[in-house]
């Protein structure tokens, strides 16, 4: 099990459009290649569907849509990043479709800058901070994964997965 408030400075990066995001490595479970996704009826638009991940039902989110970006056809580099999320203290897994996986980087605490409060593209509560590395011109946006896949949205997921589980049973 993963300790909740353990602070590590290792991150997994990934790309969405022109922008690079990072997530704490503790939140990342693993990366899987794009595969056939089973659609789920009566689910929100950003809910792409579900896949079978080693016997577990994994809900898959269309992250571009969640971030207000245009939907794009999947390419060779499109992958699903499996995140561990806390939903009302309950631990769950969510698959996020990203354009390209990045790398595992270690960042000093001092290199993480607070996010801008004005003129930000995304909701400031979703962004934990901005990372600037030497080999990258643009900032990497450090995401709060738990908040990104927030309660109200994932409520549906929970329900749908439950439904499917029930059906399967």
């Amino acid at each position: 099990m993963i300790e909740e408030d353990k602070i590590t400075n290792t991150f997994l990066t990934f790309r969405l459009g022109e922008e690079v995001f990072a997530a704490n490595i503790e939140k990342a479970s693993n990366i899987i290649e794009m595969t056939t996704i089973t659609k789920v009826p009566r689910s929100p638009d950003y809910m792409k569907g579900i896949i079978n991940l080693r016997g577990t039902v994994l809900p898959v989110i269309e992250t571009r849509m969640k971030f207000g970006m245009e939907a794009k056809e999947y390419t060779r580099t499109t992958v699903i990043v499996v995140f561990n999320v806390d939903i009302e203290g309950e631990k769950s897994i969510v698959g996020a479709i990203v354009d390209e996986p990045g790398k595992v980087i270690e960042i000093a605490e001092t290199d993480i800058k607070p996010p801008p409060t004005v003129g930000a593209k995304y909701k400031s509560e979703l962004i934990k901070g901005m990372i600037k590395t030497e080999d990258q011109d643009d900032f990497i946006m450090l995401l709060d994964i738990d908040k990104v896949f927030s309660m109200e949205e994932l409520l549906h997921i929970k329900e749908t997965t439950k439904e499917i589980k029930d059906k399967e049973l």
Partner: protein
């Protein structure tokens, strides 16, 4: 008067009236109008007179006889002088004239006396004939002189003309020779042209075949490149999968904390390798695509080149045929020039002969002139 004297006188009268005229008539009949008539006539008269002298010797006394001998001698001398005057003179005169003519002097005046014309003897007739002859000779000689002069002039003209002709013929022969030499050079170059055209045609055919082969090869290489590009996809996939695998390994290693550090390093190395193969695959792909494009373009160009080369081969063949025809034409022209040359040479020879002949003609004219100069007109 004694009867003897009477008898003598009668005899004299009779002979003078009957005998002498009869004898003269007889001579006239015999000699007719000949100049020789004068000689016997004179001799008869002289004989008659001498016979009178003889008769006188008998009838006169010795005193008178002294006169008779000189008288008789005088009669003889007179008759001889007369004979000479009447016969030898005209002949001598004639002889001198003929001598003059024989010396070429045609200006001798041959005057015929009216008396001579009347006498109508041989001398006068010879004189008339001679006069006629010199007149005719004069005309003929002057005609011949004129003719020989014109022969001379014509010969000279002819000579000059033939010399010019000969010179022209020589010039013509030289020109023909030059033309012939040029033609031969031209024929040689035409032949070389034809040979080169044939060679070029063969080369063009070979190139066409080779280009077709290379065309096929280009097509094959394009296909091969397309396959390479497909295979690169597999490499790319493997690289990508390796990438994901290494990321997952990194994630796991990070979660393992200090225990996972070594593993993390390995995972990163694997990732680097995957990245490298990705970059390499990308480069190979780029290169393959650009090679494919180049091969494609090359293929298209060489496809276009093949008909061009074939057309070139055909054109070259036509050039070759044209050259052969040209060669035949040039040979004909050359033969014609050779004929012209030989004709010109013959012409030159003939004109040279003509020149010699005309020279002879000139000499002949001069000769004739010099011969005619003998006559004084």
């Amino acid at each position: 008067m004694s009867p003897e004297l009477i008898k003598l006188l009668t005899y004299l009268v009779v002979t003078m009236l009957i005998g002498l005229p009869f004898a003269l008539v007889l001579v006239r009949i015999i000699f007719k109008k000949s100049i020789l008539t004068k000689i016997p006539s004179l001799m008869l008269i002289a004989a008659y007179l001498l016979s009178i002298c003889g008769a006188m010797v008998i009838y006169f006394d010795e005193i008178h006889q002294i006169w008779i001998a000189p008288l008789g001698s005088a009669i003889l001398i007179i008759s001889i002088i007369l004979m000479k005057r009447l016969t030898v003179r005209p002949i001598q005169n004639l002889q001198s004239k003929i001598t003059e003519i024989s010396k070429g002097n045609l200006n001798v005046s041959i005057e015929v006396d009216i008396e001579e014309l009347k006498s109508n003897n041989e001398i006068s007739q010879i004189n008339i004939a001679l006069s006629e002859m010199t007149k005719n000779l004069k005309e003929i000689v002057s005609e011949i002189k004129k003719a020989s002069t014109s022969i001379n002039n014509s010969g000279r003209d002819l000579n000059a003309g033939s010399l010019q002709m000969s010179q022209l013929a020589s010039e013509q022969a030289a020109s023909a020779e030059e033309v012939s030499a040029s033609m031969e050079q031209m024929t040689a170059s035409i032949r070389q042209n034809a040979d080169n055209a044939v060679k070029a045609g063969k080369l063009a055919k070979k190139s066409a075949v080779k280009t077709e082969v290379s065309n096929k090869n280009v097509q094959k290489s394009t296909e091969a490149l397309a396959q390479i590009v497909k295979k690169i996809d597999i490499i790319n996939d493997i690289a990508f999968q390796t990438d994901i695998l290494s990321l997952n390994a990194s994630i796991e290693a990070s979660k393992a904390g200090s225990h996972g550090k070594g593993f993390n390093v390995v995972a990163r190395e694997i990732r680097k390798l995957a990245d490298k193969s990705k970059t390499a695959a990308l480069e190979i792909e780029k290169l393959s695509v650009s090679s494919m494009n180049i091969a494609d373009r090359t293929g298209r160009i060489s496809k276009q080149t093949v008909p061009d080369i074939k057309k070139t081969a055909t054109l070259v063949l036509e050039i070759s045929e044209g050259s052969l025809e040209q060669d035949a034409g040039a040979t004909q022209v050359n033969n014609a020039i050779q004929e012209l040359n030989s004709a010109t040479q013959k012409f030159a020879a003939v004109s040279e002969e003509l020149s010699v002949n005309s020279e002879e003609l000139v000499q002949l004219g001069i000769f004739l002139n010099s011969k005619m100069a003998f006559f004084k007109v």
